[in-house]
C-alpha cells in the first residue's frame, strides 16, 4: 500500500503543482508566524520578534526550493530530464545518430511491412459474422489424383442433410455470364449460388434483399445479386438498380440487390451471384465435381469433430454409391486458411527473415553504442561518483537507446507504408478484397512495440556494461582511448559472431529460394508462352444449344483469325495451361477388363481445335498432330501426353491403341491414339503433369466447351488484340471476349508470389550482408585503434607489415569462422522450414551452403582489409608517443 500512496503523492506533486506550491508557502509562513508569537510571549516587541523569527528561519526561498526538489525527485521528471538529455547527446553526434537510426529503420520497416501483410492474411477479420466458424468442404479424391477436389452436387446434398456439425451448408459453382443490352457485351465472372450462401457467410446485401429459397427452385424467375465492384463499374452506383432488369446470357434477370463491399465470395474477381436453381436430378449427380462448398460450424463444434462427422458420412456414401464414391473422402478446411492458401508458409518464412534482419541491426547498433560507451566512461563515472545509482545510469542510457529506436520506428513506418503497396501482390486475391491492405492500428501498435523492444534489446547490453565501470579505474584513465576491458571485447566479438551467423542463415534461405526460382524458369512447361495471345469466348448456352452451331462458330472464328497478317497459328481449347488444374474424365482402355469404380483411370481431358498444339508449340514426341482430315464423321482420334502413354500403356507403344470415355457400356466411340505430345504443366509450373488427352472438338460432344482462343503471333501479341476481337465480333457481334492477355502474363502470375518471396528474402539477405560487413569493419577498426600502441611496439621490434596484416586479419577472420560455423548449423536446422517453398533443390543443397559461405567470407575479408591496412601504416614513433 505504501507504494500506492507514494505514487499518488508523486503524481500530485507533478500535476497539482500550484496547490503543492501554495501549501509549501503557507506551511512555512505558519512556522514563522508561530515563532513571532513565541518571541512576543518571550517579551520582544512585535517588530523585533518578526526580525528574530526571520533571522532564525534563514532563507525562506531556499527552503522552499529544497522542498520542491525533494518532491520533484520523481520517475516522470527523471524521464523527461533523460529524454531532454538524450536528445542533446544524439544531436551532438549526428553521424552516429543518422547511421543508427537508418540501420534500425530499415530493420523496423521490413518488420512492419511484412507484419502488415501477415496481418491482412492471417489476422484481420473477414467481413462475415463469426468468420472463424466458416469452413470450406472438399472431396478427397487422392486415389484419382485430386486430393482436394471440388465436390459433386450429390455429395453436397448428402453432407448438408446428414451432418450433425454444421448450422448450414451452401454451394457455389463457376458461371459465365454474358451481359448484353446496353453498352459493349461483357463477359462477367459470376457464381451460381444456393440461396443460403449469404446467410451461411453471415453477411447481408448493402442494397436490396438476399436470395430467398423460392428464388432457388427450377423455373423460378431469374434474379441476380451484384457485387459492389460491378455495381460501381458497370451501373455507376445507381441507387435505384434494385428491381431493374438486365440481360444475362440473353435471359431477362431482375437485380434484387447489391452485396456489401468486401463481401466477395469466393474472391475479388466475382461480379455477381445468381441462384443455382438445381433440379432434383442435378442435386443427385455424383459424377460431375464442380461445386465449392462453404459451411458454418455449429457453436462449440471443433474442426476435428466436423471432420470426423464428414468422414463418417463419406464412408456411408462410399458404401451406398460404390460406382461414384469409391475412395472419395471429405474434409473441411477453415475459411481463413483456405483463403490464405499456400502463402502461409512463405509469410512465416518472411516474418522469420525480417526478425533476423532486425536482430542483426540491433547487434550492429549495440556494437556502436559499446564503442561510444567507452568514450562516455568518464561521464558515467562522474555521475556515479556524484551519487547516481546504477539503476539511474542504466535508465538514462536506455532512454537514449529507446529514443533512437523510436526515431527509427517512425522512419521505418514511413518506409513500410510505401513498401506495403509493393508487397500487396503477396496477398492472395481471395482475401485481399475482404480485409484490405495497408497500415492499420494493429500495424502501428506492432511497430511501436518492436521499436521499444529494439531499443531495449540493443541498449541494455551497453547500458549495463557502462554502469559496471570500476569508478576509480575509469576516472584515472584518460578520456580518449582504451577499451571497455576484456569483457567488452568478448561482448563485441559475440555480437559480431551472432551477426555473421544470422546473416548466413538468411543468405542460405535466399540462395535456396533463388535456385528454386531459377529451376522453375528453366523448367520446360511443355509449351512456349511467348508470342501467344489468349482470350475467352464463352458461348451462351441458349444461343449455341446445337453442337453444329458451336462448331460453326469455332470454325469461322479460326478461319478469320488464321487469315490475319501476323498470325502464325490459332487454336481453341477448353483451358489454356495454368487456368484449370482439373477437367478430367474416366476412360476405359480397349482390351483391359472393366475396372472396379475405384480403379477407373481419370486423365485430364482437353477438347481442342486442329492447330491448338501448334499455337502453343507443344512438342510432338511420337505419331502425328491433328490435321484437317480429323473432322466430324471420320475416325475418332486422340492425342495423349507422355505421362498418359507411360502410365496407361507401360512398356507398350500407345500409337494405334484405342480407348473410350466412360465404361464399356457407354455409347461413346472408341478413340484411336494417333500421337504422343510432351507433358504440359496445366496446374502450375511447379506442379507435375497428370495423364492428359486431347480430342478434336468436331468429333464428339462430351460436354466440355472449348472457350479459350490461343493465337500465336509473329510480333507483340497484344498488338493483335483489337483486330482479333473485331474478327470474333464479325462472326457474332454479341459475343463477349474476355480476359485478353499474353500467355506470358499467366506464367508470370503463376510465378509472381514465388518471385516476390525470393526477391524479398534476397533483399533482406543483402541488407544482412551489408550490416554484417559494417559490423566486422567497425569492430576491427576499433580494435586497431586500441592496439595502436601494441602494434607500434611490434613494428619497432621488427615486425613486418605482412605480420601486422596477418595479425589483424586473423582476429577478424576468427570471428567470421565462428559465426559461419554457428550460422551453417542453424541454417541446416532452419532450412527444413523452407521445404514447401523450394522447387527442384534440396533444403540441404551443398552448393547453396558453400556459395553463401564463400560470399560471406569474401565480404568479411574485405571488411578486415581496410582496418588491417591501416594497422600496417602505424608509425611506431607516433604510436608510442600516443597517450
Amino acid at each position: 500500500m505504501r507504494w500506492l500512496q507514494s505514487i499518488s503523492n508523486r503524481l500530485r506533486s507533478l500535476f497539482r503543482r500550484d496547490t503543492v506550491e501554495q501549501e509549501i508557502g503557507s506551511e512555512l509562513h505558519f512556522h514563522i508566524e508561530r515563532q513571532v508569537e513565541e518571541n512576543i510571549l518571550a517579551g520582544m516587541n512585535p517588530q523585533e520578534a518578526r526580525r528574530a523569527a526571520s533571522r532564525e528561519f534563514g532563507g525562506v526561498e531556499q527552503v522552499k526550493e529544497e522542498c520542491r526538489d525533494t518532491r520533484r525527485a520523481n520517475y516522470l521528471e527523471n524521464l523527461l530530464k533523460d529524454v531532454r538529455y538524450g536528445f542533446r547527446m544524439l544531436r551532438k553526434s549526428p553521424s552516429f545518430t543518422f547511421f543508427a537510426v537508418a540501420v534500425l529503420a530499415l530493420g523496423i520497416a521490413a518488420n512492419s511491412a511484412i507484419f502488415s501483410i501477415a496481418d491482412a492474411i492471417l489476422v484481420r477479420p473477414l467481413p462475415y459474422r463469426d468468420a472463424n466458424r466458416l469452413v470450406m468442404i472438399w472431396e478427397d479424391s487422392s486415389a484419382y489424383g485430386f486430393p482436394k477436389d471440388t465436390p459433386a452436387p450429390g455429395n453436397f446434398s448428402d453432407w448438408k442433410s446428414r451432418n450433425q456439425v454444421f448450422e448450414d451448408v451452401a454451394a457455389i459453382s463457376d458461371g459465365s455470364f454474358n451481359l448484353t443490352g446496353s453498352g459493349n457485351p461483357e463477359n462477367l465472372i459470376g457464381k451460381w449460388a444456393t440461396a443460403n450462401l449469404f446467410s451461411v457467410l453471415g453477411v447481408s446485401p448493402a442494397l436490396g434483399r438476399d436470395f430467398r429459397p423460392e428464388d432457388d427452385v427450377p423455373g423460378a424467375p431469374a434474379v441476380a445479386l451484384l457485387s459492389h465492384g460491378l455495381w460501381l463499374r458497370r451501373f455507376g452506383g445507381d441507387p435505384r438498380i434494385v428491381g431493374k432488369e438486365i440481360l444475362l446470357n440473353n435471359e431477362k434477370c431482375t437485380v434484387i440487390g447489391v452485396m456489401k463491399r468486401g463481401a466477395q465470395f469466393p474472391d475479388r474477381e466475382t461480379d455477381l451471384w445468381v441462384p443455382s436453381r438445381f433440379t432434383t436430378a442435378q442435386l443427385a449427380n455424383r459424377r460431375n465435381h464442380f461445386l465449392e462448398v462453404v459451411a458454418r460450424l455449429k457453436p462449440r463444434v471443433s474442426l476435428g469433430t466436423a471432420n470426423a462427422n464428414l468422414a463418417t458420412i463419406a464412408s456411408q456414401l462410399e458404401k451406398e454409391n460404390p460406382d461414384s464414391n469409391a475412395k472419395v473422402g471429405a474434409f473441411a478446411v477453415p475459411l481463413r486458411e483456405e483463403l490464405a492458401g499456400d502463402v502461409r508458409p512463405a509469410i512465416f518464412m518472411l516474418l522469420g527473415a525480417v526478425c533476423f534482419v532486425l536482430l542483426i541491426a540491433c547487434a550492429n547498433v549495440a556494437n556502436l553504442l559499446l564503442s561510444r560507451a567507452t568514450g562516455r566512461r568518464r561521464e558515467m563515472a562522474m555521475r556515479i561518483a556524484l551519487g547516481a545509482t546504477r539503476a539511474r545510469v542504466i535508465q538514462q542510457m536506455l532512454t537514449e537507446s529507446i529514443l533512437l529506436s523510436i526515431f527509427a520506428g517512425v522512419a521505418g513506418l514511413l518506409f513500410s507504408i510505401w513498401g506495403t503497396k509493393f508487397l500487396a501482390t503477396l496477398i492472395p486475391t481471395g482475401i485481399a478484397a475482404m480485409t484490405g491492405t495497408g497500415v492499420d492500428g494493429r500495424v502501428l501498435l506492432f511497430t511501436l512495440a518492436i521499436s521499444l523492444a529494439t531499443g531495449i534489446v540493443f541498449g541494455i547490453i551497453p547500458a549495463s556494461r557502462v554502469s559496471q565501470f570500476q569508478l576509480a579505474h575509469s576516472l584515472k584513465q584518460g578520456g580518449g582511448r582504451s577499451g571497455v576491458g576484456s569483457g567488452g571485447h568478448r561482448l563485441r566479438d559475440a555480437l559480431v559472431i551472432s551477426e555473421v551467423a544470422l546473416a548466413i542463415v538468411l543468405l542460405t534461405g535466399a540462395a535456396l529460394m533463388i535456385r528454386s526460382l531459377e529451376n522453375l524458369y528453366h523448367l520446360d512447361p511443355g509449351f512456349r508462352a511467348d508470342h501467344v495471345l489468349v482470350m475467352r469466348t464463352p458461348l451462351p448456352r441458349q444461343k449455341y444449344e446445337a453442337f453444329a452451331a458451336r462448331a460453326a462458330f469455332y470454325e469461322q472464328v479460326l478461319e478469320r483469325v488464321e487469315g490475319l497478317p501476323g498470325v502464325v497459328a490459332a487454336g481453341y481449347t477448353t483451358w489454356v495451361p495454368l487456368t484449370n488444374a482439373g477437367g478430367a474424365t474416366g476412360i476405359t482402355i480397349e482390351g483391359k477388363p472393366e475396372p472396379a469404380p475405384a480403379d477407373v483411370l481419370v486423365p485430364n481431358i482437353r477438347i481442342i481445335s486442329r492447330d491448338y498444339t501448334r499455337a502453343l508449340r507443344m512438342k510432338l514426341m511420337e505419331g502425328r498432330l491433328f490435321e484437317s482430315r480429323d473432322a466430324a464423321g471420320t475416325l475418332p482420334v486422340a492425342l495423349i501426353n507422355q505421362t498418359m502413354a507411360r502410365n496407361y500403356w507401360t512398356g507398350e507403344d500407345p500409337a494405334g491403341k484405342r480407348f473410350k470415355v466412360g465404361g464399356y457400356s457407354e455409347k461413346s466411340p472408341w478413340l484411336t491414339v494417333i500421337g504422343v505430345v510432351g507433358d504440359v504443366h496445366q496446374a502450375g509450373l511447379a506442379v507435375p503433369a497428370r495423364a492428359e488427352m486431347y480430342l478434336p472438338y468436331q468429333q464428339e460432344d462430351l460436354g466440355f466447351e472449348p472457350e479459350y482462343l490461343a493465337v500465336r503471333t509473329a510480333g507483340d501479341p497484344m498488338a493483335l488484340g483489337e483486330i482479333v476481337r473485331q474478327q470474333i465480333w464479325a462472326v457474332d457481334k454479341e459475343q463477349p471476349v474476355a480476359g485478353m492477355m499474353p500467355l506470358e502474363d499467366l506464367v508470370d502470375e503463376n510465378l509472381a508470389s514465388r518471385k516476390m518471396q525470393a526477391s524479398l528474402l534476397s533483399g533482406f539477405a543483402g541488407l544482412a550482408l551489408l550490416l554484417v560487413t559494417l559490423g566486422i569493419y567497425a569492430v576491427l577498426s576499433f580494435a586497431v585503434t586500441q592496439r595502436t600502441q601494441e602494434i607500434g611496439v611490434r613494428v619497432a621490434l621488427g615486425a613486418q607489415p605482412g605480420d601486422v596484416l596477418r595479425m589483424i586479419f586473423s582476429q577478424g577472420f576468427r570471428l567470421f569462422l565462428m559465426g559461419a560455423a554457428l550460422g551453417l548449423a542453424a541454417a541446416f536446422v532452419l532450412s527444413r522450414a523452407l521445404v514447401h517453398l523450394l522447387f527442384g533443390v534440396s533444403a540441404y543443397d551443398p552448393a547453396s551452403f558453400a556459395g553463401v559461405t564463400i560470399l560471406l567470407a569474401a565480404v568479411a575479408l574485405l571488411a578486415c582489409y581496410v582496418p588491417a591496412r591501416r594497422a600496417t601504416r602505424v608509425d611506431p614513433l607516433i604510436a608510442l608517443r600516443y597517450e
Binding site: N9, S26, V63
Partner: protein, 109 residues
C-alpha cells in the same frame, strides 16, 4: 555538516518519526519538541526540517493533514502512516544496535 548539533539526514528522519509517533504535529512544534526534549542540544534547522518532512511524506512514511493550530491558524499536521510506524520500529532497533556498538568501542578502546 560542521556543527556538532547538525543532524545527519538519517538521524533527523528518526527523530521526526519518533516525535510525531505520539500525536500529529506541525513543523514548528516538531522542531520545538526535539529541542526541548534534548535539553536544547539538538537544534533542528528549518532548512533541513521541511525538506525532510516533505521527503518522508513523499515516501509515504508520514502523512499530512491541514488542521487548526493551538493559536487558531491553519497548520499542516504530520502523523505516522502504518508503514511509517513499522519503519520507525525498525529504525529504532537499528539505532540502538549502532549506538550500543559505538558505546562499546568507546568504552573499551
Amino acid at each position: 555538516m560542521s556543527k556538532p548539533t547538525d543532524l545527519v539526514q538519517g538521524t533527523l528522519d528518526l527523530l521526526i518519526l519518533k516525535t510525531i509517533a505520539l500525536e500529529p504535529m506541525h513543523g514548528w512544534a516538531i522542531a520545538q519538541r526535539i529541542r526541548r526534549v534534548s535539553n536544547n542540544v539538538l537544534q533542528v534547522n528549518q532548512g533541513a526540517l521541511y525538506p525532510a518532512l516533505h521527503r518522508l511524506e513523499q515516501q509515504a512514511w508520514i502523512q499530512a493533514k491541514w488542521g487548526e493550530s493551538e493559536n487558531n491558524r491553519r497548520a499542516k499536521y504530520y502523523s505516522l502512516t502504518k508503514a511509517g510506524q513499522k519503519y520507525l520500529r525498525a529504525e529504532e532497533t537499528n539505532w540502538e544496535r549502532l549506538s550500543s556498538a559505538i558505546g562499546l568501542v568507546l568504552k573499551t578502546v
